[in-house]
């Protein structure tokens, strides 16, 4: 029936109208980097202003991630969050932000703190 043709034409194009997300443009420590000393803070720079709603850090070999709090409450394109004391090892920093258009975006960066 024509109805199905019509509805699917619409549905195929509809999602194209809903993709505005803040994207991570830069991180410090950078993704995949090896740093010689533990970072004092984490820096996340996004493509547009967003609100940082979750940040957690997991060391390889540890069973659970630890939450990093408190987080900035205002929306911004760049966040500088004090880092906890880090021992040498491989880490995954996970974040979640919400953009102006209400999209929740998650991501992670991996970095290594080298043994002194």
């Amino acid at each position: 029936m024509k109805s199905s043709i019509l509805s699917l034409c619409t549905l195929l194009l509809w999602p194209l109208a809903a993709f505005a997300h803040a994207h991570l443009q830069q991180a410090l420590p950078a993704d995949g980097s090896v740093v010689s000393s533990a970072p004092a803070q984490f820096t996340l720079k996004f493509s547009e202003a967003a609100q940082l709603t979750a940040l957690s850090l997991q060391k390889q070999g540890e069973p659970q991630a630890r939450k990093i709090e408190p987080l900035p409450t205002a929306a911004s394109a760049q966040f500088n969050v004090p880092a906890p004391k880090l021992d040498p090892g491989v880490y995954e920093l996970r974040f979640r932000v919400v953009s102006d258009d209400s999209h929740v975006v998650s991501g992670s960066i991996h970095f290594t703190v080298a043994t002194q």
Binding site: M1, K2, S3, S4, I5, L6, S7, L8, C9, T10, L11, L12, L13, W14, P15, L16, A17, A18, F19, A20, H21, H23, Q51, T53, A54, S56, T73, R94, R96, V98, S99, D100, D101, S102, H103, V104, S106
Partner: protein, 285 residues
């Protein structure tokens, strides 16, 4: 536990209820005079799915808070709930609940209150223009207009499938065939509007074929495959089953109903894919 999967499934269910309810309202207002046997059933379908839709929409702010937190503890996180409620999603949810409530009121009264049902359907189906990418682009007015046309027609067509099934099941076959023909005539007028609005949106928002090489594009291709399947069903219905129905053939009626069910399920699948696309992916990923 990551709440993203549950949130996507919940949103898919909400979209199905929302567009079913809105579409049933449009259908009742347009075709009730020709469907004496199933008018009440369609009203109950519209009101029932609207009530389900309200429940599902009300669940979305807590689920958004959980997504923001990255775990289900976020469901009860006051500050994140406030962020969710004050976001553009929160505004869209409020309008959806208002629209669905009007559908319930419009379709549950003894005599259908057409203007209430249509207003509710328009609000419920069109509320998504308040959020998402189109809501933050410079050409907002144009994008919102195009998207509104899309959403309203999606609601009309998707929401008409179940009422059409009921008409084929319970009305005299000649009456059901008449409704299906009228429905098809409307479709012929609406096709250009859908295509025009959809292509314009795509042109304004994407502008690159490279998206087809990423997860977002692959999901679009998957949806295209479903679309091709539906095209096959559509051709079968239009040229094989509908003439049989008009001629009073019971096998044609059964075949048409099976085909409508298949269409409904395939479009519901597309709605689920849409929920995943809009919540988890973007062309830039």
């Amino acid at each position: 536990m990551n709440p993203d999967g549950i949130a996507v499934a919940e949103r898919a269910a909400a979209l199905v209820c929302l567009y079913q309810a809105a579409g049933a309202a449009f259908f009742v207002v347009l075709f009730q005079a020709q469907l004496p046997e199933v008018r009440g059933r369609i009203c109950r379908l519209g009101a029932g799915t609207a009530l389900c839709g309200i429940a599902l929409v009300l669940l979305q702010p807590p689920l958004m808070a959980a997504r923001m937190a990255g775990d289900f503890a976020g469901l009860f996180n006051g500050p994140l709930l406030r962020v969710a409620l004050h976001s553009s999603n929160g505004a869209a949810h409020a309008v959806q609940v208002l629209g669905l409530s009007l559908i319930v009121i419009g379709l549950r009264s003894q005599r259908v209150t057409a203007w209430l049902a249509v207003l509710g359907a328009a609000l419920a189906a069109g509320a998504l223009v308040l959020t998402g990418h189109t809501s933050v682009r410079p050409q907002r007015a144009l994008l919102a207009s195009l998207l509104s046309v899309h959403l309203l027609i999606v609601a009309f067509w998707f929401g008409a499938l179940r009422p059409l099934w009921l008409a084929v099941q319970h009305e005299k076959l000649a009456d059901a065939a008449r409704v299906l023909r009228r429905f098809s005539r409307l479709a012929a007028w609406l096709v250009p509007c859908i295509a025009l609005a959809g292509l314009s949106l795509a042109w304004l928002l994407i502008g690159s074929w490279s998206v087809l090489r990423r997860a977002y594009g692959l999901l679009l291709v998957a949806k295209l495959c479903v679309f091709v399947l539906l095209m096959g069903l559509a051709a079968l219905n239009r040229w094989r089953y509908l003439p049989g129905l008009a001629a009073g053939s019971p096998p044609a009626r059964r075949a048409l109903q099976r085909s409508i069910v298949a269409e409904y399920l395939l479009i519901a699948l597309v709605l689920a894919m849409t929920a995943a696309l809009t919540m988890l992916f973007s062309p830039e990923d």
